[in-house]
């Protein structure tokens, strides 16, 4: 058993840290306030190869491993969770299903520009009446000659309105239930496809979250991803990988909150001492540090399992569940360490606490993660 990063992973981690501190952190408070999507940051990340990290060079990727990708989301989220989820949704949900299930032609046409960061990716599964019950798809796709005609809508889609390439689930045969769902690659500019206005969210406010609306939207037949009826399987496998990304995002938020708390507890003086000299603060910091480290081990292990081609569904659910809960606990404690100042927007922990909450909800709520874990443990 070896807990050390390789020199290559360490150098990539240095790159992410330097980039996050120099290019991402200075914008984080402002784009949280305005809700402006950080397009310039996305362009810079494309140049550095961050948008194609875990994909082979032949597709324009960086050829790094899943762990190196998870560390990128972690380091970005440590300073800006919005930037972290833009990368996670693009890589894990937009590009990965095409890499895993796409035909050579689909990879050529869609995966390469996604890996190079020329195009941005997104994924649409959730509907108004299909949240945790994702099988209840009411978006319908009907084959008509050379096209599928899509009708319906998706909600809460990360990178909505900003993405160029969407992976969309729709029922091709509602009578078959789970086996009647198919996955499609939908280009942003095709007729009949529009995005709703940007949602006004509690946290990750600079990530663009919108509705996707399909009205007699014509998707070319060759954009069916996998075979008809494989959509639900594709979606579930995609989410297994996506959970590593969101777990890494939660881990990064928690790490950011911990670092701010350590800094503040050394600076802030009360009773003529830094507050870190008081046991009340020490215990909070000790618990935060321990839980963040435990979350990191779970997240890195899930990534390691994926890299080593071992089953990772249970591990990624555990990592996502635990890291998300640690993010929520740690950011709440971080605000407590900061006292009244922590409640003010002048301090980063206020944003971290709002950003943390979503990690317990999206890509499967904590309750869904427990269902996934229980189903594997009790089988």
């Amino acid at each position: 058993m070896n807990f050390a990063l390789t020199a290559k992973q360490e150098m990539l981690q240095n790159l992410y840290r330097e980039f996050a501190d120099n290019e991402v952190a200075p914008l984080a408070a402002e784009i949280d306030e305005t809700g402006e999507f950080p397009s310039e940051t996305v362009r810079k990340m494309a140049e550095l190869g961050i948008l194609g990290l875990p994909f082979p060079k032949e597709y324009g990727g960086a050829g790094a491993d899943t762990l190196s990708y998870a560390m990128a989301v972690e380091e970005l989220s440590r300073v800006c969770a919005s930037t972290g989820v833009i990368v996670s949704a693009h890589v894990s949900l937009g590009a990965n299903p095409i890499y895993q299930f796409g035909t050579p032609e689909q990879k050529e046409k869609y995966l390469i520009p996604l890996c190079k960061g020329e195009k941005l990716g997104a994924f649409g599964l959730t509907e108004p009446n299909a949240g945790t019950d994702a099988s209840n798809q009411q978006t319908i796709a009907v084959l008509n000659g050379d096209n599928y005609i899509l009708n319906g809508s998706k909600i809460f889609i990360t990178n909505g309105g900003k993405a160029d390439t969407y992976i969309v689930m729709a029922a091709t045969d509602p009578s078959k239930g789970l086996k009647g769902i198919s996955a499609f690659i939908v280009e942003a500019n095709i007729p009949g496809f529009t995005c709703g206005p940007k949602e006004n969210k509690m946290g990750i406010r600079a990530s663009s979250t919108t509705e996707l609306i399909f009205q007699d939207c014509l998707v070319p037949k060759e954009n069916l991803l996998g075979r008809e009826g494989e959509g639900f399987k594709i979606a579930m496998q995609t989410l297994d990988g996506g959970r590593i990304g969101i777990a890494a995002q939660a881990l990064g938020i928690a790490q950011g909150a911990l670092e701010e708390s350590i800094k503040y507890s050394k600076e802030r003086q009360q009773f003529k001492k830094p507050i870190g000299a008081f046991q009340a603060i020490q215990w909070m910091i000790a618990d935060m540090a321990t839980e963040v480290e435990a979350a990191r081990l779970l997240v890195y292990r899930a990534a390691w399992l994926k890299d080593n081609k071992k089953p990772f569904g249970q591990a990624s659910a555990m990592a996502k569940l635990y890291a998300a809960e640690v993010a929520m606990k740690t950011t709440t404690k971080a605000v407590q360490v900061h006292g009244g100042y922590g409640y003010m927007k002048d301090y980063k922990v206020e944003r971290f606490m709002r950003d943390a909450k979503i990690t317990e909800i999206y890509e499967g709520t904590s309750e869904v993660q427990r269902m996934v874990i229980a189903s594997t443990v009790l089988k």
Partner: protein, 262 residues
Amino acid sequence: MKIVVCVKQVPDTNDVKIDPKTGTLIRDGVPSIINPDDKNAIEEALVLKKEKGAVVTVLCMGPPQADFALREALGMGADEAILLSDRAFAGADTWATSYALSMAIKKVGDYDLIFCGRQAIDGDTAQVGPELAEIMDIPQVTYVRKIVSIDNKTAVVERAMEDGYEVIEVKMPAVLTAVKELNVPRYPTASGIVDAFDVKEVKLWTAADIQADPERLGLKGSYTQVKRTFAPPVKGAGKMLEGSVKEKALSLVQELKVKHVW
């Protein structure tokens, strides 16, 4: 055009603490980085790679772990990397270091330009670049803040001065040393880092490989020796005076009187 960039791996002095007892740097747990001025030299070489099709070789003398610094340079886009590492180099001062580097550069051969950083943040001597040029008997320009024009025969560069700059035309091959005003070093790319480990290689050269005279290497070849290192005594906290110019002048006089300076 062939460019050799000499780099040094140094402790990140932002993180360095000094042992109060011995006065030496505490290097444990301190991350090592490419010396900042050397990064400017790498960057400029990479700009010339793009503009003039230059081939960029990065050269570093140091312990085996300096491999990491060279891989980072490869990740930024350098073509080749050479690590000069041998027990025989240990204890070298700037002169013995420059000699070893000069022998390595001779082995590289066919160079048009040698680029160094102005000085390293650990020793701050700023001697290796100039000594290298002397040993190799080629022209040098230090404190280069801009390359105005360059080809295989001559380069026109701006040399930073305290109160302005000089424009110097220099015959190639030459040694240039870079200051931070020269450029903003790029980040390595993720894909470049992966290639730096999986595709490219760092060549390891020993004293024998560069056919160096053993008498001129390491401690033996050094004209200078470190007698003692120490941290200068810590200055007391300063005091800022508030108010209008007149008020500040009055309180200054008052302060000086209290301290019997005046």
